[in-house]
């Protein structure tokens, strides 16, 4: 199947600090790809490169075979076709949840105010927040902020949805609900999903494939399904990462 998103030999970092080097992988349509690794391994930095918030020093990020940095138009075009939920939700604090969801709709569609509200309500309803539409971000819980962020990310029916640490700061139940919601969006709408996380429960629950990063090599040390990496990896670092899950399961048993 044709990749919707490709990374080719990417090298880059912050200012002069090299974080990632020689990164190459592809994401196929409808796939849920998890980018995992220990804290500080460059997961969020890779997300910044995928989203066009950082320009690679070397290599390319391709969205549907077009380099997102080839022209400002290419980057803009790609950005209208994907949605992002950030770790903190990143909702604009001076707008209500509904107004936050309306924001991208207003910018990129030419529909009436009433239609904007209807679409935005339906997106909030998808994430179970229609009743809190008129609340401001600071008036709702962290989990609700993330779900509202997801509703905003879904506003334009994106082809790719990016999630940066969706479970961070959430209790296991809320985190599990969010995982289910992500899986539902993926299966019902066929949306390609790229998720950055270090939560093993989420990785096993929703990912089709896993790309594992490591800070020592500034790059990828393993690619495969979560079960493959857990059971068959010969790399000590991979086993140590996924071993936490086995240990937890054994303790649970």
């Amino acid at each position: 199947m044709k990749p919707v998103l490709s990374v080719e030999d990417l090298q880059g970092g912050w200012d002069e600090l090299l974080v990632l080097d020689g990164i190459s992988f592809q994401v196929t349509r409808g796939e849920v790809l998890a980018i995992v690794g220990k804290s500080g391994c460059g997961k969020s930095t890779l997300m910044h490169f995928l989203l066009g918030l950082l320009k690679p020093w070397k290599g390319r990020v391709l969205f549907k075979d077009e380099d997102i940095w080839s022209s400002p138009e290419a980057l803009q075009k790609a950005r209208t076709r994907w949605g992002v939920t950030f770790q903190s939700g990143a909702l604009l604090g001076n707008l209500t949840l509904l107004e936050n969801v309306i924001l991208p709709l207003k910018e990129y569609t030419d529909i009436s105010e009433r239609e904007l509200r209807i679409v935005a309500y339906s997106k909030l309803d998808t994430v179970g927040l229609a009743d809190s539409a008129d609340s401001y971000p600071l008036e709702v819980s962290g989990g609700m902020q993330k779900r509202a962020g997801l509703a905003r990310a879904m506003a334009l029916d994106p082809e790719v949805l990016f999630f940066d640490e969706p479970s961070a700061g959430l209790d296991p139940v809320t985190s599990g609900n969010l995982d289910e919601l992500i899986k539902t969006i993926n299966s019902s709408l066929g949306t390609t999903i790229v998720i950055v996380t270090h939560e093993l429960t989420s990785i096993f629950a929703i990912s089709d494939r896993v790309v594992m990063l490591d800070s020592d090599v500034h790059g990828i040390i393993a690619v495969g399904t979560a079960v493959e990496l857990r059971d068959n990896s010969s790399d000590e670092r991979v086993r140590a990462f996924f071993g936490r899950n086995l240990a937890a399961e054994k303790r649970g048993n």
């Binding site: 910044h48 989203l51 066009g52 918030l53 803009q76 950005r79 209208t80 994907w82 992002v84 950030f86 770790q87 903190s88 990143a90 909702l91 604009l92 604090g93 924001l103 991208p104 910018e107 990129y108 962020g149 905003r152 990016f162």
Partner: protein, 387 residues
């Protein structure tokens, strides 16, 4: 913590520490709030310990010890050892023994070597700072360019301007600044009018005061004070607002949604300031001159009618317009520098604080430089000023 005599008595009364012969026995758990009492207790028996030449710390009746209390005991023992006293512990549980061993392990680590700064380092530091300043100014120039580009795009498509935000910033930066600008410039006009008039009265030339005050207020004080106050009030607010948005990833969210952050965040602030600054300067001019008029009539016996007629003879419309024109440049500087500093925020709350301070300092610095350059230009433009 300072130990009161009552606390010390309690410690002794509770008999957590007892001394007999050369044995210091610990009973129960020594806590961190008891460290002064521990020090006092050891001080009391110091001479006996030195005389005995040995000290046994008996922890047989102690199930544990607070780490701060342990550090105090360890320090005291170290002093005794240095003085030739043989110190040993007895009856210690592994948890206590481990704590003392950990303290000993870290104590044996070499002190961090403080590097002395050489002259070369000193000049390198200066060079680095100058380089960083150059880089900041380069980035600021780039930022100005991007804002100008976004502004020109909006001029061509005015419906794209977020007018609700422009009105919001006009109210926040303009309307709400009226009281402070009016009061301060009025007070300054009063003081300047009085001081100038007092000097001129000595020369029987107090009728020159209105002209002098008019020039000072309309050419410099009005526009400059307005710019400084707006930079302090609004420039810092812009930096804090955008800086907080950076920390909360809101700016990144706007970027990845494909929004032009310059059009969305910076230009509404700039347009808002461009709309209100000239009127704030006008207000500052009137207010300052009114203060001077009051000083003339109260202290110099200069009736308001004479003041106004003398002022009318001296000032020309260009004097007023020039201040208002200068305010456009100040508005661009303040809005851009404030937003630029906000955009540079990386990290947490402290970075936002630094950005607001930097925004005010750099705004005022640049306003003064712009004012100096514009004043040089004004000399050539205004009739009757050429040397």
């Amino acid at each position: 913590m300072i130990c009161t005599s009552t606390e010390r008595d309690q410690l002794v009364n509770q008999e957590k520490l007892t001394f007999s012969g050369f044995t210091l026995s610990v009973h129960g758990v020594l806590e961190d709030y008891e460290i002064d009492s521990i020090r006092d207790f050891i001080e009391e028996y110091k001479r006996s310990i030195f005389n005995a030449g040995k000290l046994v710390l008996d922890f047989s009746n102690s199930p544990g010890i607070d780490s701060v209390a342990a550090a105090v005991l360890y320090g005291a023992c170290k002093q005794f050892t240095r003085a030739g006293v043989r110190v040993r512990r007895t009856g210690t549980l592994p948890v206590i023994e481990n704590l003392f061993e950990t303290l000993a392990g870290f104590d044996s680590m070499p002190e961090p070597h403080k590097k002395r700064m050489s002259i070369r380092d000193y000049f390198e530091n200066i060079g680095e700072n100058v380089y960083e300043m150059g880089k900041t100014l380069y980035s600021l120039g780039h930022f100005f360019g991007d804002t100008l580009y976004a502004f020109m795009n909006l001029v061509l498509r005015p419906m794209k301007v977020r007018w609700s935000m422009v009105l919001y910033y006009m109210e926040e930066s303009g309307v709400k600044a009226i009281p402070i600008i009016a009061i301060l410039t009025w007070l300054l006009g009063l003081v300047l009018g009085y001081q100038a008039g007092f000097q001129l009265k000595e020369l029987a030339a107090e009728t020159l005061m209105p002209a002098m005050l008019g020039y000072i207020i309309t050419w410099e004080i009005g526009p400059m004070l307005t710019a400084v106050l707006v930079a302090g009030r609004s420039g810092s607010a812009y930096a804090a607002e955008i800086g907080t948005m950076q920390v909360r990833e809101e700016v990144d969210a706007l970027r990845v949604m494909g929004f032009d952050v310059f059009s969305y965040l910076v230009t509404p602030k700039m347009i808002g300031l461009l709309c209100v600054m000239p009127f704030l300067v006008l207000l500052a001019n009137f207010s300052g001159i009114f203060g001077g008029m009051l000083a003339g009539s109260l202290f110099l016996g200069l009736p308001p009618s004479t003041f106004i007629s003398e002022l009318g003879k001296a000032l020309i419309p260009l004097d007023i317009y020039w201040g208002m024109l200068k305010s456009f440049i100040y508005a661009v500087i303040i809005a851009n520098v404030g937003s630029f500093m906000g955009m540079r925020v990386r990290g947490g709350a402290s970075a936002v604080g630094k950005a607001t301070t930097a925004a005010v300092v750099l705004s005022i610095f640049m306003v003064i430089i712009a004012d100096a350059l514009l004043s040089l230009l004004f000399v050539h433009i205004r009739p009757g000023l050429s040397l």
